[in-house]
């Protein structure tokens, strides 16, 4: 017995909202980053669920690209965090209020 499509979509929605709440709630840049990963993954679940539902591979290809994007984003993002920590000695997101220092 396979679960119906709605279960996957509900699950993905819950995961996505947890990610949004994390971005709004936390002030630590690294945790905010992780919450963004949660949101990306929630979207991946819906893509794959629909791909199975339609028996169509295109959704899975899209997930592949999302993963590529996530890897690129994390590499640049963490580099920015390290560079900012060098200058400000802080990873609080509220200290990131200048475009230049």
């Amino acid at each position: 017995m396979t679960p119906p499509l709605e279960y996957y979509l509900w699950f993905a929605a819950l995961l996505f909202v947890i990610g949004v709440a994390g971005v709004l709630l936390r002030r630590n840049v690294i945790i905010v980053f992780m919450s963004i990963e949660l949101m990306l993954n929630a979207v991946n679940v819906t893509f794959i669920a629909f791909s199975r539902q339609m028996n169509n591979i295109d959704g899975q290809i899209f997930v592949f690209f999302v993963m590529t994007l996530a890897a690129a984003e994390v590499a640049v993002g963490l580099a920015i965090i390290v560079a900012m920590f060098r200058n400000k000695e802080s990873i609080n997101i509220e200290d990131m209020n200048l475009l230049k220092w």
Binding site: W10, V17, L25, I30, I48, S51, T68, A75, F85
Partner: protein, 167 residues
Amino acid sequence: MTESLFFVFAAMAIVSALMVILNRNPIYSAVSLVITLFSLAGIFLLLEAYFLAVVQIIIYAGAIMVLFLFVIMLLNPGKEAKFLSPTNPRILIITLLSIAFIGMIFTLVSGTANYIGEAASSTGDLGTTRNIGLTLFTKYLLPFEIASLLLLVSLVGAVLMTKRNLR
């Protein structure tokens, strides 16, 4: 069988995702996120996305999260000092908004079965490496090349960003 496995993985993913955003210690958050990613890999397996399930573990759990841990250990930020108290109005607003958003999606999703209809019958080889590779290198060749360019750009960007002296 599949349904009970789905509930196990989904519960694990949701609980550890909550741990990610509620823990004050960033290392605990990172470890919880690894557990979430593993549960998601399990769900991908249930949905016959075999290749993506393994790639999820190799890329997310094996590379991205190790990078997160590396940065957390390098900067060693410790526990977040000013964590918001439960009575803070911002927490209340975020919780209310989250519930409203979940309710909205639930009502939207509940009707989908009527539009989409029954799931297509399984051929059993939907997400195999062979199928993914064939589609990726024929139909999606141009996006694939652009994605590789994106990775190159981000590689250069990350190296440039961590240089102390640009001149």
